[in-house]
């Protein structure tokens, strides 16, 4: 039975030649740090660990209630490093039975999200269309300092932040939608020529984000953030590659 206070994160890296994955890889790091502060036991399948083989192993060994995948997708598949197919509708999505799933990926709401909920996933949150985000051109060396990308990753990741803080899937979804709105309003007040192009993509993502299944699920026991663990061992996670239990 899937375990509360356990999460599995999948985040392919830029090593696979897809520049977009570089951003997701970096932007998930603070989320993993926050999960650890909230005493969530995290399995971090990053870069070359973001494969179907490690995903299957992670589910069976770690048995997390919460599964969060970043990466390329289409209607019925979600992929990891080098387009390795990690989830496919009606092929292996039954492994998500009893779990809460968030896929920050294109199109998976149209088939895969519905299919996994029909097979017993408690809740799925994802996108009906291409998930689009903007970046500065040229991009900064550190994706976390890209002010354009921030407007997309903060609202998109709010789903997961709310869940690891003990809020329900319904609240997590609504908080993400509100955050998208707030960023739209922020950019609507900016005079720069980029603003309308940021707004069009933010509206697109917000309108295509959906929750399928239960809006009442929680994946974590609400706790105060651990004050004694402010230096989060991200480097340790990356070096260790896979399981880091807290």
């Amino acid at each position: 039975m899937p375990q509360r206070n356990k999460a599995l994160f999948v985040r392919p890296s830029e090593d696979d030649g897809l520049g977009a994955n570089r951003y997701g890889f970096y932007w998930l790091q603070p989320l993993i740090a926050e999960s650890l502060r909230r005493r969530i036991s995290v399995m971090d399948l990053h870069s070359f660990y973001a494969t179907s083989e490690h995903f299957s192993l992670g589910l069976s060994e770690h048995d997390p209630l919460f599964v969060f995948g970043f990466g390329h997708g289409d209607g019925d598949t979600y992929t990891g490093q080098n387009y390795d197919v990690i989830l496919e509708a009606c092929q292996n999505d039954q492994v998500l039975r009893g779990r809460v799933v968030y896929l920050l990926s294109c199109h998976t709401a149209t088939v895969l999200g519905q299919s996994m909920v029909q097979k017993g996933a408690l809740s799925y949150i994802g996108y009906q269309e291409n998930f689009v985000f903007a970046t500065q051109d040229p991009p900064p060396a550190n994706p976390l300092s890209d002010g354009f990308a921030r407007a997309f990753f903060e609202p998109a990741l709010e789903v997961a932040y709310a869940l690891v803080r003990g809020q329900t899937t319904g609240v997590a979804y609504r908080r993400s939608q509100v955050s998208f709105n707030n960023w739209v309003e922020f950019w609507a007040r900016q005079p720069g020529p980029e603003a309308p192009f940021l707004i069009e993509a933010l509206l697109w993502d917000k309108n295509n984000q959906v929750l399928i299944g239960s809006s009442a699920e929680t994946i974590a026991t609400p706790t105060q953030a651990s004050q004694g663990n402010l230096v989060i061992p991200i480097a340790t996670i990356i070096a260790a590659g896979a399981l880091l239990a807290l």
Partner: protein, 66 residues
Amino acid sequence: MRYALSESDWQVALARYKAMPPTIKYNILGQELDKRQIISNVEQRTPAGETLVAMQKNYQEWVARR
């Protein structure tokens, strides 16, 4: 075509993206598109171009509602 896009939608979007500053790129997961590539996708009416035109149409409707 996945979206109900008219010829006018394509032309409006093309004009808008030609006015896009070169300081911004779009990432559609798996694809990084700079201004030149965005315009090319719209001109060639690729699947990514369809998404871009649909986004632009959404935006124009949002502006009209405000």
